[in-house]
Symmetry: C3
Subunit: 152 residues, 3 copies
Amino acid sequence: MKDEVALLATVTLLGVLLQAYFSLQVISARRTFRVSPPLTTGPPEFERIYRAQVNCSEYFPLFLATLWVAGVFFHEGTAALCGLIYLFARLRYFQGYARSAQFRLAPLYASARVLWLLVALAVLGLLGHFLPISLGVALHGRLRMLLPGTRD
Amino acid sequence: MKDEVALLATVTLLGVLLQAYFSLQVISARRTFRVSPPLTTGPPEFERIYRAQVNCSEYFPLFLATLWVAGVFFHEGTAALCGLIYLFARLRYFQGYARSAQFRLAPLYASARVLWLLVALAVLGLLGHFLPISLGVALHGRLRMLLPGTRD
Amino acid sequence: MKDEVALLATVTLLGVLLQAYFSLQVISARRTFRVSPPLTTGPPEFERIYRAQVNCSEYFPLFLATLWVAGVFFHEGTAALCGLIYLFARLRYFQGYARSAQFRLAPLYASARVLWLLVALAVLGLLGHFLPISLGVALHGRLRMLLPGTRD
């Protein structure tokens, strides 16, 4: 089992490290802009960094779920490569958002495109898994109707 | 391995698509009510849609974790069916919350009941996995005490 | 497969139950301090309980991902034990934060230390998986260069 998911596990761990980096950036911004927990509002610079981290956190479970379904049912290497591109786009999104709300857009769209690609691979993988089964069942039924001798 | 988790993977992917739909609704509400990121406050209509999406995002990892433990250790088809019902309840919750805070309640309680059912199935599945092992160990110990000849 | 992940699945389910407990505490605090959804601001007592739950929710996917990679690629029992300690630290964090922002710090640092330990175990596990493969490939290449007769 391990051999078929080692690349997915590696990308997963890189994603965890990226999210940890975002969290540390928020802690650092809390100190710089003197925004003590439980507050989450403050100067726009702080709010942008905070929102960038929250947005990446919200998408992280969607990313992991899609990465693994695509990797197990379509192709592990392709899914892992898409995963790396997604994480890189998210890093640029975070850095862009920290500078201005405008700079977050290009990498945000890039990350969304990769995520939709992973969703498409996952759909293809699941279709490739279920269609042969249902086609097989349908063909089996047809054959039994065509060949009366095999009816039981 | 794939055959035992294909239904769980399908429900997982449907869940990702539902969360993507919620996110697109928030983006659309941001335009309608002119609430630009990083702001998350605005007219009550916007705040309800935003909170509905945040609440569904918060529960998504809990849902996925419970779905998979119940599906692997209890029964895949039963867990996948509960998963579909949960996602449908979450869709009605989101649509209800967008209309009024009151309308979110009935589907929210429905989604909570299905999630607790999945938790119960997961607990049963894990008990069914561990109890035979510990019963076996206990029985083995008893038998060795009753049959002195087998002591070693 | 089940035998190799049953402990991880148990810790995962305990984590889901802990998150459910935190959510119920927020619902109870909403009633006590009369903060109706979609509002998330109110008296500091309410905001601390709310932020404690949000923070635990944000880290839950990171925790699960690291727990499973460490448990599958390093050692299941060790990862599960670290997972139990992490969940206990998160419970003390929640209870501490409900009392004061200061009391959240010690258990927060404890939970961070256990999470980094899980990350380290996961990295070691993945290195232990990939290094033998790449070492094997490298050795195989060297041997083929040293033994001209085996070139093909």
